[in-house]
């Protein structure tokens, strides 16, 4: 099945003359592979031809920095092989383990937080992995499936390089997420999970943000990474619509820096699915350690203004309103215009700004 996408975004920042413009035409392939009695695999690829002008690092386009004005991007690019061990199992074992061992290879959302259960491909509001790790998608190979009728799992070995697949000697990231089975969503309105990440990753912005991480990185590039995450989402029907409340928490270390990331979001969708509102608060805290200096020089402190060291906290409050021309229940057809205002409350680098965005989006 081939889907198409049109995306237009204009973002204004106070104090800046030219707004950031982004226009793209993209597509998505969803293909399943079946034989006479089994659907045994699937393939998903998403891509966009993007034109940008006057780039600004918005919530949904942090990756765009440094790219040429016209750029061909890929997003999802993965293959699933369902019930991968069936060839080695007896018929009774196959029945018993149906849906338990599925293999995924390629590029997809990182198994940390709610990204695996949330499609943020066309939205302005994003979850916290982009800020937390420097990327929300990575290249990996892993297993996923049902642990039990109540729990699912995702276990992945990731390259840790983000957009480009780069194997430059970093250890990569091992990720495990245990999550609630979908029946909790449909019977009680709950989704959630616990995840752990450990290993090394490549993230240019994480190095730039923290001199101590840069100083302690392997080869000046590989960041030792550890995270423990907790995520939850509750959907509640109301007489006049649906209310959704989301929370993501992630704590850990980048080298010697303590990391704490929090995200809280409330969404409301009117019953006719025509109008939606959302409010998000996100906060990222990085506790940088003093950088060990060569002998004869005093240790660099974040308090010394001459070093212009980044601050410890980045926080934003974002509100948005969406008018849907088309909002199919299974998200097979989407068409909306969106207004978003982000108030940056604290920033690690640079001054606090207000960003206003208008987005047109169509997916069919």
């Amino acid at each position: 099945m081939l889907k198409q996408e049109l995306f237009a975004q204009i973002t204004w920042q106070d104090g800046r003359r030219a707004p950031y413009r982004r226009f793209s035409y993209g597509g998505e392939i969803l293909q399943r592979f079946s034989d006479q009695v089994t659907t045994w695999g699937s393939f998903n690829a998403q891509w966009r031809l993007v034109h940008r002008k006057a780039f600004m690092p918005t919530l949904n386009d942090a990756e765009g920095e440094g790219r040429p004005d016209t750029f061909f991007e890929y997003h999802n690019l993965y293959f699933d092989r369902f019930n991968v061990f069936d060839a080695f199992l007896s018929p009774e074992a196959r029945r018993q383990h149906l849906g338990r061992f599925n293999l995924r290879v390629g590029r997809f959302y990182v198994p940390h937080g709610l990204n695996l259960q949330t499609d943020t491909h066309g939205t302005l509001l994003q979850l916290s992995n982009e800020r937390n790790l420097g990327f929300e998608r990575d290249w990996y190979a892993g297993l996923w499936g049902a642990l039990s009728p109540a729990l699912n799992y995702d276990l992945a070995m990731m390259a840790g390089s983000g957009y480009d697949l780069r194997l430059e000697g970093q250890k990569g990231l091992l990720a495990l997420r245990i999550s609630l089975a979908n029946r909790f969503l449909y019977e009680h309105g709950w989704e959630g999970g616990i995840s752990v990440l450990s290993g090394e990753r490549i993230s240019k912005h994480s190095l730039m943000r923290s001199p101590s991480v840069a100083a302690r990185s392997t080869d000046g590039r590989f960041i030792e990474t550890r995270r423990l995450g907790l995520d939850a989402r509750h959907t509640r029907p109301l007489p006049w619509g649906t209310l959704t409340m989301t929370g993501e928490w992630s704590a850990g270390r980048d080298a010697s820096d303590d990391i704490l990331s929090q995200l809280y979001q409330v969404d409301f969708l009117r019953r006719d699915r025509r109008l939606g509102y959302a409010l998000q608060y996100r906060r990222f805290r990085q506790g940088s350690e003093p950088v060990p200096m060569p002998m004869g020089r005093s240790a660099m402190s974040r308090a010394e203004p001459s070093t212009a060291a980044p601050g410890p906290i980045e926080a934003s409050l974002v509100g948005e309103a969406t008018w849907y021309f088309r909002h199919e229940v299974g998200n097979a057809n989407l068409h909306w215009i969106k207004l978003s205002v982000e108030r940056q409350m604290e920033r690690q680098v640079g001054g606090r700004q207000v960003l206003a965005t208008v987005q047109y989006y169509r997916y069919w």
């Binding site: 099945m1 392939i29 969803l30 293909q31 399943r32 592979f33 079946s34 034989d35 006479q36 009695v37 089994t38 659907t39 699937s42 393939f43 690829a45 891509w47 040429p68 004005d69 016209t70 061909f72 890929y74 019930n83 018929p91 196959r94 029945r95 149906l98 849906g99 338990r100 499936g145 049902a146 009728p149 699912n152 480009d164 697949l165 089975a181 979908n182 029946r183 969503l185 449909y186 019977e187 029907p237 109301l238 007489p239 619509g241 649906t242 019953r271 006719d272 699915r273 088309r326 909002h327 199919e328 229940v329 299974g330 998200n331 097979a332 057809n333 069919w364």
Partner: protein, 300 residues
């Protein structure tokens, strides 16, 4: 994926070695092609960290082939995907979110299952069939939940090579939001084996999910719904009317509204299955009911 200078030059060298590039390059260049070449060179100057000396670094063949080299992996991927000898399916619309677990629950003896997508717009005379859905449902189709291009996923459940069940879900609008109605069917008789809600945004959810309420739908076929259309007009107390025996689980307006929406969802599900799976075997019951009701109206 970014194609680097080394990739372009490798491609250039390969094509030059086989004389392909030179034959292409021998054509006289129009003004528009010159402008395009300058734009490509300018874009590579942005890419290259030094931003200088690219004209020297690129051969004329390399500059021309830069775009082709950039697109080559995607062309190859598209060719592979397009030539794969299996049906194209997707997993959107009303689908089971955990098919393996749900189907194991419905059919404990399952060893494998197959997903197939059906869409009106891909069927011959799809528009006519879509209009026919509205007639057989007896009410207007919701533009959000029941549009012409809504995809439907059919799950065929197997034990070894034997087909043991069909499962299919539909969305209907309820008082509080979406109601997703799934039916588990006997593959040979077209009878309902089981019926469950995957999603029920309703304040009457508890009453509707009640096992006893749902058990009343077991054994029903689409023929029973068509017969109900006749009996409800001609003979409302006829005991052969199995659908009339299913009453709303409560007296509150929300419960009655969502009960009617559920009944409509079950009926729509059966009509779609009759079209996509059962080869319209229940169509004679629809025609017969229509003829009898027309006769009744003319008698008056």
């Amino acid at each position: 994926m970014m194609i680097g200078l080394a990739d372009v030059n490798r491609t250039t060298g390969y094509l030059q070695g086989r004389g392909l590039a030179n034959r292409w390059l021998a054509r006289p260049m129009s003004h528009r092609r010159k402008e395009r070449r300058r734009a490509v060179e300018a874009s590579f100057e942005v890419l290259h960290p030094s931003g200088a000396g690219l004209r020297g670094a690129f051969s004329p063949c390399g500059r021309r082939l830069a775009w082709l080299a950039r697109l080559f992996p995607w062309m190859l991927l598209s060719l592979i995907v397009a030539s794969w000898p299996t049906k194209a399916c997707g997993a959107i619309g009303c689908t089971l979110n955990n098919p393996a677990q749900d189907l194991k629950f419905l059919y404990p003896e399952v060893t494998s299952f197959k997903e197939e997508i059906r869409e009106f717009r891909l069927l011959p005379e799809g528009k006519k069939l879509y209009a026919g859905l509205k007639e057989r449902l007896g009410s207007d189709l919701d533009p959000v939940y029941e549009s012409y291009d809504t995809p439907y996923t059919i799950y065929s459940v197997f034990k070894g090579d034997q087909l043991i069940g069909i499962v299919h879900g539909v969305n209907v609008p309820g008082k509080g939001g979406v109601i997703q109605v799934f039916l588990s069917m006997d593959p040979t008789t077209g009878q309902i084996r089981d019926f469950f809600f995957q999603r029920l945004e309703s304040r009457a959810a508890r009453a509707l999910r009640d096992k006893d309420f749902r058990a009343r739908f077991k054994g029903l076929t689409l023929a029973d719904f068509y017969k109900h259309d006749y009996f409800s007009v001609a003979d409302p107390t006829n005991p052969a009317d199995r659908v009339a025996g299913i009453q709303a689980p409560g007296k509150e307006p929300d419960q009655i509204f969502d009960f009617k929406a559920t009944l409509r969802g079950v009926r729509k599900n059966l009509i779609l299955l009759d079209l996509f799976v059962y080869d319209r075997r229940f169509e004679p019951f629809y025609q017969r009911t229509r003829d009898l009701l027309a006769g009744k109206r003319s008698d008056r």
